[in-house]
Symmetry: C2
Subunit: 167 residues, 2 copies
């Protein structure tokens, strides 16, 4: 299936990515995790995004889902739903150079009335050759915006079932 022309700069990002990550925040102990994310072309002017993380015992931790689009050259929009009771609307910058794709996104949040309050986020995705580095900063529960997650991913088999199947 052809990629929509607007998504052409993101073509190297399409597929499934997996690897290890580290989490930190003032309110919790540092932790490690395994992450798998996918950006899927469904023939529309956006990519479907799904993410899952697991702990060392292979227990499912976090999931999130959404869509990524390129409304203008050098501009990206990333809309996300989080089962912790947030929606996250990210807008930002797309930088494409030889063998490098970088996304820098600032997120606005709505929280459900029962959720732990998240006030703002910042995400980056850097695809350098075949390595995808992600970072996620968060202002939450009255703490200022700061690093929460980083991960180092590499391309997985296209057929990976882990991201789509029920664990």
């Amino acid at each position: 299936m052809d990629l929509h022309p607007a998504l052409e700069p993101l073509a190297p990002l399409v597929g499934t990515w997996e690897g290890a990550g580290e989490g930190e925040y003032p309110t919790i102990k540092n932790f490690d995790y395994i992450e798998e994310i996918s950006f899927t072309n469904i023939g529309k002017p956006f990519l479907e995004y799904r993410q899952r993380t697991w702990n060392a015992e292979n227990a499912l931790m976090h999931v999130e889902t959404g869509y990524l689009r390129v409304p203008a050259p050098d501009t990206v929009e990333f809309v996300l739903a989080l089962p912790t009771g947030q929606v996250e609307l990210c807008e930002g910058r797309l930088e494409v150079a030889k063998d490098e794709i970088r996304l820098f996104l600032e997120g606005r949040i709505l929280n459900t009335s029962t959720a732990k309050q998240v006030d703002a986020t910042s995400r980056s995705y850097a695809l350098l050759g075949d390595a995808l580095k992600t970072s996620f900063d968060m202002a939450a529960v009255n703490h200022p915006l700061q690093r929460h997650l980083t991960s180092n991913l590499s391309r997985a088999e296209q057929s990976s079932e882990r991201i789509t199947s029920v664990p």
Copy 2:
């Protein structure tokens, strides 16, 4: 996989649903569509939600994705990402009676700067026996909250691939 106890009232909703829908809005011509939605248990205190619609020529129209949870008895939260540049945070009421499950949700919206502006939504899901009726009201592009979509769905084969596979 066991359903989280908080989700027990939603147990009959778990699975894949498909059927026909109708759309209307002051700014567009009325239209028909085919819809498939799924609520999936992944062993967490929420259900994964995915939706896709197609026109009569089997061309993919809309998709959306998110999570549904029951933070307290009679209360539902539904967080959604929409590839049209919105995130939608819905909260509302769960009513469970013999053979009937009804969800009534009011949605708050964030729009990306390039999206057609949606100001508010209202969703309902009514499971009556094995028929799932959905409705979606929307205030958008300066029109007040009013009916946009209704659909009548029935339970599909658990193995339906349409919702998860790339078309």
